[in-house]
């Protein structure tokens, strides 16, 4: 079965204490299942990289897996804050948390430089802001053409990048659709790549549409088949964002004890994603299904024999 592995085995083999870990996905395809397995395996001292830490990093920080965040926007979008993270940042409760902060484009540029083996990525941002003052890794670079100076960010090369997707084959050739975020860049930048998919497909499905492939098996170390692995975020065409959970988290996470209780029940208390979904209930899952299908239609690559 090529690179197919269980989530437990993939995380045990590929995520190590102290690693720089990126579970990417901009609002879409956020792999909560991998985050929860990292919590269950009590990984420690991780540096967590993500544009938007979102609930998954709030949970991972609450569970004590992280020493550091590398990020650009820290919040529960449309709802409120990330309170476990805020407690550590504002009150060092229960311990300080190191922050390394960029803008969205800065993070995208960092992954791109990492993926491209470039020593830096130039961008027109940060002018006259306080960000370079608090992050010494945002530095001016002078163009060799004319007099212009722009800013540069350094490459970000995660030890592990986790990508959730609609489908992959057993060799890790991965296709996704909908919002693409910067998963491609984060995966190419990484030392090791875990792909988590809703569906394992035959290689022929991938080969039928080579332009749909976002990540080649060449850079993938493990393929984990974990339906609903992105809940409460979503998978285009498969299920909707569970906005109720995003709202609920605001109350749960405002208090350290209720956060811990939630982790006990929903992370430590289940063996994996299948059990988590059983606990969530089929009714709630059914509500998250799209109301109908919206087919892309097929294009013709043509046979050239």
């Amino acid at each position: 079965m090529g690179k197919v592995a269980s989530m437990r085995d993939a995380v045990a083999a590929l995520v190590h204490d102290g690693d720089v870990v990126a579970i990417e996905g901009f609002t879409h395809l956020i792999c909560f299942a991998a985050g929860h397995e990292i919590i269950r395996q009590r990984k420690r001292d991780l540096a967590l990289a993500r544009l938007t830490p979102d609930l998954i990093y709030d949970q991972m920080v609450a569970a004590g897996t992280a020493r550091k965040l590398v990020f650009s926007w820290l919040g529960n979008p449309g709802v409120g804050g990330l309170h476990a993270i805020r407690r550590r940042v504002e009150d060092a409760d229960p311990a300080p948390l190191e922050l390394e902060e960029y803008s969205h484009f800065g993070m995208v540029g960092r992954y791109t430089a990492g993926a491209s083996n470039l020593p830096f990525f130039p961008l027109r941002s940060y002018f006259e802001t306080d960000l370079p003052k608090v992050n010494p890794l945002i530095r001016p670079v002078r163009s060799p053409f004319g007099d212009e100076t722009v800013y540069a960010v350094p490459p970000l090369k995660p030890d592990v990048t986790v990508v959730h997707a609609q489908r992959a084959d057993a060799n890790g050739n991965t296709q996704m659709w909908g919002l693409l975020g910067c998963q491609k860049e984060a995966a190419f930048a990484a030392e090791r790549v875990i792909v988590v998919v809703e569906t394992l497909v035959d290689e022929a499905v991938i080969r039928a549409d080579p332009n749909r492939t976002v990540i080649p098996g060449l850079i993938v170390d493990a393929v984990v088949v974990e339906p609903w692995g992105a809940h409460p975020s979503y998978v285009q065409g498969a299920y909707d964002r569970d906005n109720r959970f995003y709202r609920d988290w605001e109350a749960i996470s405002r208090d350290a004890a209720s956060t811990a209780a939630w982790l006990d029940e929903w992370v430590y208390g289940v063996g994996g994603r299948a059990e988590y979904m059983e606990k969530l209930g089929t009714e709630r899952a059914a509500e998250l299904r799209p109301s109908g299908s919206a087919p892309s239609g097929s294009v013709d690559y043509g046979l050239y024999e």
Binding site: S103, H104, F105, S125, F127, T129, D130, G181
Partner: protein, 279 residues
């Protein structure tokens, strides 16, 4: 994400001035949306988060700016959402869009490439020159309140041709001096800002309008916010009580025309039927 977190009901209590309906059967949020939509007349491409800016932009498309094109910060372009998007990455903005692109493409080619006419920013703090803080209240290393941070805001401020700010007024948010400059506005004044933009090669010409629950501000020749219109039901006293500096005020000071019946109908029946953002 550039959406102003404070515009969302769940994000915490409203400021005092924002509470309650304006006189004639519309809310302050509705007035704010209508005022922002009208400011979009003649604009073409908006870079937008969800929440109030999304509703304002869609109202503008249905009224004063039918040609408006939306670039969502999550990478959807030409969206035709079948329902009101609940988050900036709602799948409903992707299904049926004309394009869904990577963040690299979005920030490199659309925003930095100069295709965006108007960017929207919210703020935790803004000063008279339109400089914005969405990073921390207090000291950066030991913040009193840790806010979301830039997201795309600082590159929007620099590369969108102009910036619209939508936020409610309060002494906490309209301040004499912001604690952290996340997104540059007119810096210390129009002249130095223009020089800096030219020298540093910014595409943007900075903030052009601030729409609040009480009025509409543009920026004068000095680059400073000037109250150019006051919303019906609001008073100059309220304005001054919710700002950390004495604002410049246009003379004469017109009152913002009330939302029309059609504008209200569009908001209530089509754009936000559940009142999620406009209550």
């Amino acid at each position: 994400m550039s959406e102003p977190r404070r515009d969302v009901p769940a994000a915490g209590g409203s400021t005092p001035a924002a509470t309650g309906a304006a006189p004639s059967g519309f809310t302050r949020s509705e007035m704010m949306i209508v005022a922002a939509a009208r400011e979009l007349a003649g604009q073409r491409v908006c870079f937008v988060g969800v929440g109030l800016p999304n509703i304002a932009v869609n109202l503008a498309r249905l009224t004063v700016a039918p040609e408006l094109e939306l670039v969502y910060e999550s990478g959807a372009f030409g969206a035709k959402p079948a329902r009101l998007p609940l988050s900036i990455g709602d799948p409903t903005i992707v299904t049926g869009a004309t394009a869904a692109v990577s963040m690299f493409e979005l920030f490199s080619f659309y925003l930095q490439g100069g295709l965006v006419d108007v960017g929207f920013l919210g703020a935790a703090q803004i000063d008279r020159f339109g400089n914005i803080n969405s990073t921390v209240i207090g000291d950066y290393e030991h913040p009193k309140t840790r806010l979301p941070g830039s997201g795309g805001a600082c590159e929007i401020a620099i590369n969108a041709r102009q910036v619209f700010v939508i936020m409610r007024q309060s002494k906490r948010s309209f301040v004499d001096r912001i604690d952290f400059r996340t997104s540059p506005g007119n810096l210390g004044g129009a002249e130095s800002a223009a020089r800096t933009r030219r020298e540093e090669g910014w595409l943007g010409s900075g903030p052009s309008v601030v729409v609040t629950d009480l009025g509409i501000y543009h920026f004068d020749e000095a680059g400073e916010m000037r109250l150019d219109s006051i919303h019906p039901g609001a008073t100059l006293e309220q304005i001054r009580d919710t700002m950390g500096w004495q604002p410049k005020v246009a003379d004469p000071l017109p009152t913002t025309p009330e939302p029309s019946a059609e504008e209200l109908r569009l908001i209530r029946e089509e754009l936000d039927p559940d009142g999620a953002y406009t209550k």
